[in-house]
């Protein structure tokens, strides 16, 4: 396993559950045992969840694995299935699970300016939490899920918050224009400024950030800046391995790659979606948890089994006390209707359809109905 987070841990569990009895080595460049990332922008950032509660392994779990932590994989010899490590050593294996996830994208030219943060790791979250505790003006660059969650958490902590989004509507990619507009209205409903359709030209500041400069000439004063402009798959280390690399590692419908004995899972992997007829990288918690099981089956069977269709991708987000849940693919839809609730009451249930057939569902504080629709989507798939 290369990558010691949710997808790597889930693969290790699946290997043991499916009867693999051999040596299991987990390589991770972070010094930490696997921990849960979603709380990093929510409860942990707010200070209501302690570090120990982030652990993804229950105390009694023993996978009989060797953990090589704090060491980066720098290369893969595909045919030999040998993973080269930054300390010069090498791990050879019969099977390799690539689970190196994704890393936060940064803005060029912002390195070394104090007060500027990205949020992907526990260390990032500690640093940001300590700064938020001092209060002040926060500018979030990017109105995606992580940006919106940071804005919501910081608002609850009493900071003065502005969100800057380059697109006309935040979340239009994952949720579509209409629902992206409804969900991102949560900012304004809580008195958080949302500036849309305007890019960021740069940051002003000496040793510490002072303002965010917008493309239209405006500048927004800032004591803290969070850059939430998405994540890129961590696959540079695989250059020259013989693996097909596009937006992540290009895989079949069960995580198999072009190299025998090598599978890829989680945020770094672009799995083939047979229904849509294309590859896509799904950056959600449940995908990283569920899909490794299929990849491990493929790995152990050496390609002898046909992959079963995975459940439609599902993710959640918590913003301003509203539980947002989404399943399916918004991009496939030609219509979206609100079936229940009202936007002002933050309890919308919306169904996305293509030629009359449901392809996705969005819930805001509607867990019961949402689960019903999610089951229907899975059954129809």
């Amino acid at each position: 396993m290369v990558g010691a987070s949710l997808a790597g841990l889930s693969a290790a569990r699946s290997l043991r559950r499916q009867g693999f009895d051999g040596r299991l080595v987990v390589i991770g460049d972070e010094p930490h045992r696997p921990y849960d990332r979603p709380p990093l922008s929510k409860e942990f950032l707010a200070g209501s969840l302690a570090e120990a509660d982030l652990a993804l392994e229950p105390d009694e779990e023993d996978l009989r694995a060797e953990w090589l932590l704090g060491v980066r994989a720098v290369g893969l010899d595909g045919p030999q299935r040998a993973v080269r490590l930054a300390d010069g050593s090498e791990v050879r294996a019969d099977g390799v699970v690539i689970a190196t996830g994704a890393a936060a994208r940064t803005l060029p030219g912002t390195d070394g300016l104090a007060g500027v943060h990205t949020l992907r790791t526990l260390d990032d979250a500690r640093a940001l939490r300590d700064e938020l505790a001092l209060g002040g003006r926060l500018v979030v660059i990017g109105g995606g899920f992580i940006g919106a969650e940071v804005a919501s958490t910081a608002y609850a902590l009493g900071l003065d918050v502005t969100v800057v989004e380059a697109a006309p509507t935040p979340l239009a990619g994952p949720l579509g224009e209409t629902m992206g507009g409804i969900v991102s209205a949560l900012h304004a409903d809580h008195g958080v400024r949302l500036l849309c359709g305007v890019g960021v030209k740069g940051l002003r500041g000496g040793s510490r950030v002072e303002a965010v400069l917008l493309a239209d000439g405006r500048s927004v004063g800032a004591d803290i800046v969070v850059v939430g402009v998405g994540a890129r798959p961590c696959v540079e280390w695989l250059a020259g391995s013989g693996l097909a690399l596009g937006d992540g590692v290009t895989c079949g419908a069960d995580g198999r790659t072009g190299l025998a004995g090598v599978v890829a899972v989680g945020d770094c992997a672009s799995w083939y979606d047979p229904r849509a007829g294309l590859h896509r990288r799904v950056e959600h918690w449940t995908g990283a948890r569920e899909r490794p099981d299929a990849a491990v089956t493929a790995l152990l069977a050496g390609g002898a089994v046909e992959p079963s269709a995975p459940r439609p991708p599902y993710f959640w987000s918590d913003q301003y006390g509203v539980k947002i849940q989404f399943a399916g693919h918004a991009a496939a839809a030609d219509s979206v209707t609100i079936e229940e609730g009202a936007r002002d009451e933050h309890n919308v249930l919306a169904v996305y359809r293509r030629s009359g057939h449901p392809v996705a569902v969005l819930g805001m504080n509607q867990p019961r109905l949402f689960t019903r629709w999610r089951k229907q989507l899975a059954a129809a798939a």
Binding site: S10, T286, R289, E290, W316, K323, Q325, P367, R368, T371
Partner: protein, 119 residues
């Protein structure tokens, strides 16, 4: 013994939530068995009655931890503690729940609310 609901009013694959404190849910599986467990997920404040019932397991509606209705055991994090189970009896078509005397495994946010008295 607390009366929950009539068996005929709880179709297979459905759950019924008893609004006591902490709430308890009764599940009627596709195989026709009836189980009762604490309704609140042990991870955060989610109602397991809203979850995804499959076989003898219910998947939390929020973050996908699965609880075994027979034992309360959880399959994998984010929830790490089992959910409390209760005894069920069906008499004359009525479902009764015998509440467990064990301490519940409520998530920290809910436990704090209960400790502070009725909200």
């Amino acid at each position: 013994m607390i009366p929950a609901c009539r068996l005929v009013d709880l179709p297979r694959g459905e759950a019924y939530r008893l609004d006591i404190d902490p709430p308890v849910s009764v599940f009627h599986t596709d195989d026709g068995e009836v189980f009762a467990i604490d309704d609140t997920c042990t991870h955060q404040d989610a109602s397991l009655a809203d979850g995804w019932l499959e076989g003898c397991e219910v998947e939390c509606p929020l973050h996908a931890s699965k609880f075994d209705l027979r034992t309360g055991a959880v399959d994998a994090p984010p929830a790490k503690r089992p959910v409390r189970t209760h005894e069920v009896r069906v008499e004359d078509g009525m479902i009764y729940v015998q509440l467990s005397l064990d301490a519940p495994n409520l998530p920290p946010c809910v436990a704090a609310r209960l400790a502070g008295g009725p909200a």
